[in-house]
Structure formats: C-alpha cells, structure tokens
Symmetry: C2
Subunit: 260 residues, 2 copies
C-alpha cells in the first residue's frame, strides 16, 4: 500500500519492484505523468507533435538525450524504472510489457513526461462532481476516437480520450473546473453521443476498464496522454517505450500548482 | 491607418511595404505574435527551450522546415514578409533591421511564432485596469532581467519582461485576468521593486519606450516574447531572424479565444 507515502518513497517502492500495479489514487494531491521515450532521431518530430496537440500531449518535462533522471517535476526519478509498468513498441508493433526497461534504455533516448487527467480528478471531487472510476475503484476507460491530431513529421494519428460519466446538471461545472488545468489536458474534447467521435461501444474501452453510466448522465471525454501511443503505431520508430495505460510516474508536483 | 482592416488585409498592407511601423493597437481583438526563425539544425534545441520556458516563449505555431507560409493562426501569412520589421542576427551579433527578409530566408528555416502580451491588454482594459503604454500611445517598455531561463542545448539566457504600471489596488485583478491567458505569457513574473530582478533604471528600458509611473502604482512585469533574442545572442547560430520588438504579425486568432 502507498498510504501516506511521499512521492519519492513511492517511486523507491516502484523502483524496487514492490509496486507494479496501477497508480489511480496513489499519493493523493500529487501529479502523475504518462511516458513516451524515443531515440533522439525522432525527438524533434515528437516534440513538435506535442506542441501542435497540447490538449492531448501537455509536456511537463523532457529529459536530455541519454539522461534517465528527471530534474524538474520529480528530481532524481529514473525514467527507466520509476513507472510501474512499461509498454515496448518495436517498429510500431507492441511487443511486451515490462516493469523495468533499464536493459532497453539507449544512450540516445529522450523521454517525454506528459500531464495526466488523474490530476484534475481531485479538483472535480472538491467541486462536487463525482468521478465514477474512483467510486468504482477502476482504471479510467479510454477510447481511440476519430478526432484528428495535427501531424508533425512522422507522427500522426487520432486522439485518445478518457471518459467520465457526469450528471447533466454538473457538466458545466466539470468543464469549467478542468478548463483551468490546461497542463493536465484541460477542458473536455467532447460531451455526449460517443458515435460522433467514432466510438462504437461505450462499454468496451480500448484501454482501461468500463465504468457504470447511470440514466441522467452524459459521457464526457477528455484528451488523454495515451494519444502518443497511437502515433507511435503509425510512425513505427525502431524502438519506443511508453507507460502502460494507468501505470504512471508519481511526481513531486502538487495538482493544485497546475491550476491556472 | 489600419482602422477597420481585417488581419488578412493588414498583413497584405505589411507585405506591400505600406505599414512598416509598430503594431500596438492594430486590428483590436486579434492576437499578435513574436518571431524567431532559425536553421533546422537549431530547431530541436529551440523548441525544447520554448517547452521549458513556456511563460516567456508560448508557441502558437511552428512551421515546417523551409515552409514560409503559416497554416493555423494566420492561414496564408508569409513569415518572411508579413512582420512589419525584422532583426537579423549573424553569429549572435545583431547586424540589421529589414522590412522584408525573403532574400535571406533559407530552405532549412523553421519559424516559431510566439504569443504576445498585447493580447491581454484588451482583457485588462475590459476589467478596468489601465494600460499605460496604450494611454500614452507608446511601445511597451521591455527589460532584460536576471531571472534565469531553463537552458536547452545551445540556448540559455535570462528572461526579458514587459512592464506596465498598475495602481496598487488593481494589482490583484491584473494578476487574475492575465493568469487566465497562459498562451500569451499568463501571470506576471514579478511585482514591485525592479532591482530585485536586476533592473537598474526603470526609466531606461532595453527595448520599447519608457512610460510614466504615477505615485501609488507598482511596476508589474510580465514574461516577454523578446526573451529568445537574448538566447540567440548567447547561442550564436550562423543566422537567425526575429521580429523587431513591437513589430508583430497580426493573426486571425481572437484574443478571447486564448483565455482559459
């Protein structure tokens, strides 16, 4: 368990292999990040892809080429060991999940650490907006949409979104609360009818777990940091490493510090 | 005069050499941008410098290498002709000002278009906060500070700020209004005593023009898009082109659309 642990202590647990699960609810109040690590040859295109799609890919830190340690959002954190679970993509094909990618880390790797919607969940709860995946103790459901991202070099693709069901009367509040947190995805990308953004079955997420939608609730969709994984499938870099959806790095940055 | 002109029509005037002056107050309601254009070899380091210093260098658009035309914030605008005045830096030395840099544009140039504090001036005025440089019909005063930017590759330097004197009682409102516009520099970097950020003489700005500070007013300092020009002096790229301070590109983006 991670109750009462500091982010640094939690990261040491992860590094030591003593936490390999999801990180929803871990170290409440502290921001978590998504990961993309790529060879330097792809880094400009990816950085530009992030700049052009800041809602889906809000960068909180980018490391120097070959440097595994973070400096800013989690000083001393190791990008190759401190995420609980990684996904490895070779030539655009997902090949394996690992809990430590030290052995795969290359001297020319650049790691991108991306803001996560978990950060605004506590703000929603404080504002009286229920968060179903927390209520039901599940990973948030995520869907690949048909919303195009703006391409950059070899990177292109559509947006991945996370979904939270919100009672109709609270939808405006959910929008206004999250809009003020643009560094962790900000306002929703879509509200309501899933078919309008290319989602066929709201009960079958592409990543994460389904949650209950009650009568009187709208599904509300936020841009998601898994979006780059779709672009990696398209760009087919020789090697790319991402976090496994829901298995995040816990940083030293307080969520409240990410509010505008 | 630009009264009642659309941004597109104003850009055509600039392109034709019929407006070569500053752009304060031009096309009210539309965002203006600062410019940095660099060879592709420097583009990754500069893009990373912007990512690490988003308050000073909030990127609104980055063009493809060799592509002069913008697509997003001002479709069809020409980066080499539609700023009224440019500054040319060779090996880190400011060599000349030109009103058209078509002849210098290189096939490998990438242009970076950076949000400008002019965008929040109308929001301040709407909120009842006076903007002295507009009242006195001057370019905003800008100062090089000792506030360090986070370096990236060859780029490093301190922050340049723009200064507006604000009556004490209105300082909180000035902060809250601008904090909601992070894509055009956001909240102030400093409030009050200029010496604390390395400014020796508030009446002698490094760029722009001095404005009157009345008794009962605090000088308030915002991060400024001229910041990259200090980094260019340090990095000494073979060739770099920026806008001349105050001489901006007028985009098709409404300032109101940049509020969070």
């Amino acid at each position: 368990m991670s109750d009462g642990l500091t982010p640094r202590a939690f990261r040491e647990m992860v590094r030591g292999g003593r936490h390999t699960g999801q990180t929803s609810g871990v170290c409440p109040g502290f921001a978590q990040t998504n990961l993309v690590a790529l060879p330097r040859a792809y880094a400009y295109d990816f950085l530009l892809y992030a700049q052009r799609n800041p809602e889906a890919i809000p960068l909180l830190e980018v490391t120097e080429a070959g440097e595994r340690l973070l400096r800013k959002i989690a000083p001393g954190a190791d990008a190759a060991t401190d995420y609980p679970r990684y996904r490895v993509y070779r030539d655009g094909v997902f090949t394996e999940e690992l809990t430590d990618v030290s052995g795969l880390w290359r001297e020319d790797f650049v790691s991108f650490h991306i803001g996560c919607s978990f950060s605004f969940e506590s703000a929603l709860i404080e504002a009286g907006v229920p968060v179903r995946n927390i209520e039901e103790n599940r990973n948030v459901p995520m869907f690949v949409t048909n919303i195009p991202c703006e391409s950059a070099g070899v990177f292109s693709g559509t947006m991945v979104v996370s979904m939270r069901p919100i009672p109709f009367a609270l939808v405006p509040r959910a929008v206004s609360v999250t809009a003020r947190m643009p560094r962790v995805h900000g306002a929703p990308a879509h509200i309501g009818d899933p078919s309008l953004i290319g989602i066929r079955d709201i009960t079958k997420p592409d990543y994460g777990e389904a949650v209950t939608i009650y009568p009187g609730e709208d599904p509300v969709f936020w841009p998601c940091g898994v979006t780059p994984q779709v672009a990696v499938l398209n760009a087919k870099p020789s090697l790319a490493i991402t976090h496994a959806p829901g298995h995040m790095l816990v940083t030293d940055v307080r969520n409240a510090a990410l509010r505008v």
